[in-house]
Symmetry: D2
Subunit: 147 residues, 4 copies
Amino acid sequence: MFTARDENFSERVRESFGRQGFMNHLGARLLSVAPGRVEIEVDHSGDLTQQHGFFHAGVTSAVADSAGGYAGFTLFPPNSSVLTVEFKMNLIAPAAGTTLRAAGQVVRSGRTLTFCNLEASVLTARGWALCATGQQTLMCLNDRPDR
Amino acid sequence: MFTARDENFSERVRESFGRQGFMNHLGARLLSVAPGRVEIEVDHSGDLTQQHGFFHAGVTSAVADSAGGYAGFTLFPPNSSVLTVEFKMNLIAPAAGTTLRAAGQVVRSGRTLTFCNLEASVLTARGWALCATGQQTLMCLNDRPDR
Amino acid sequence: MFTARDENFSERVRESFGRQGFMNHLGARLLSVAPGRVEIEVDHSGDLTQQHGFFHAGVTSAVADSAGGYAGFTLFPPNSSVLTVEFKMNLIAPAAGTTLRAAGQVVRSGRTLTFCNLEASVLTARGWALCATGQQTLMCLNDRPDR
Amino acid sequence: MFTARDENFSERVRESFGRQGFMNHLGARLLSVAPGRVEIEVDHSGDLTQQHGFFHAGVTSAVADSAGGYAGFTLFPPNSSVLTVEFKMNLIAPAAGTTLRAAGQVVRSGRTLTFCNLEASVLTARGWALCATGQQTLMCLNDRPDR
């Protein structure tokens, strides 16, 4: 549905992701990078839990926010950077699983603002189960290289 | 403005917070626990950054979500637990500072649902600067002890 | 995807919609009622505009809120009523068209809370164009008949 | 807290409000216009109700959205116009009252984006009761006069 203006979009996302100390601290990895869509995965560990041992909503939100931010970034021009303006998460089920996967999908990408849908699922004994849905607004900062 | 129904509210919050592996992984600490209001603080480190070295929006959201969740929890009856239904963050300024502080403040606490306002600030050379505002909906699970 | 527990779900939605004085004041009509999904339509008029002559965001939000609320209501048991807990709208394009159509789609329906996705489109010279996306949380009030 | 850059801010808001066909259709009136803060009021009538006779959440949202939009607009330069990017409403109590009052308060006004807090109250037999809180993001369109 979307075409990247910068042919190096994937490299640019991967390089920027590598500089996110927090994603590294979570043990999160980039699963896929396509024009307008990015997926991030993280395995469960005791470092990522809320008080009942499930993934903390802050982990779900963090990987969903990064997934959406980089989904938008794939469509931005070279020499730009991305800023999250706001996001909203509905935590529709406990994030009880062994792996958490978040996807950011661009819905509309304008000159200044980009809107994404966010989704997060957990891997359970019965397969992947949706645990959160979200919305996000991003801003493109032109002539401000991400690096 | 609010009165706790459980006189052990503070102890209960501190014990539950201690079980949040993720808050420990972030290096976050409980700053204050009052009926309807909780504050959490975390110091900057390279483990908590987005690609430009500021606090990652996921860190801001995680501590704000925990602050709001425990703000609500202070007003819940004994033998209950708390669930975040949804939350929304407006990231109104870059979280560029040496310490991040988030506050959760109950606006209305009903039998089933509780609504909170969230705020996060960063300590800069000029003092504390507001970097995010949010809203949160919590659910009280009765007869399901947090522990 | 969803099955209604009350075989009279459609009748119940239509009767309740008829009592929403505001939907009548807008000139809104129920377009479709299926288990977990409801669509509402309204034609453009000078009574529904913001300052530039487009549909007011308040109109878009009102029909989207009603569509989502009734989408949830289709899955509720008899003798219950529905309450919007919160909703969020991203206004991704100006609502410039001759007709506005909003759809509410249930994502997850629990015993107490139901989560919906909302979408609104406008009919333009080139066909239907998405103008807003949203999220909504509903509450089911058991043993409190809507009527 | 805020200073208007355009000394004619109040006149500009009032003139623009007058062109909102929808605010007129609701019977809404501007109650106050100050730099960074606008209040709008509307009286209850059978034209504004949901199925139980209370103010429809769409009415609450519409007046809150307009209040916030014009709160931001008071701080914009001449020859600009205002666009709602997104907003979020928590409906914390039934809007059961004889008058509904919504306030939009700017939290931060940047060159491109402005963030507002929204509040709505209803007049009950016991006085004003808060029924909704919200957040809103606005965009300033420079060199695009509102008229």
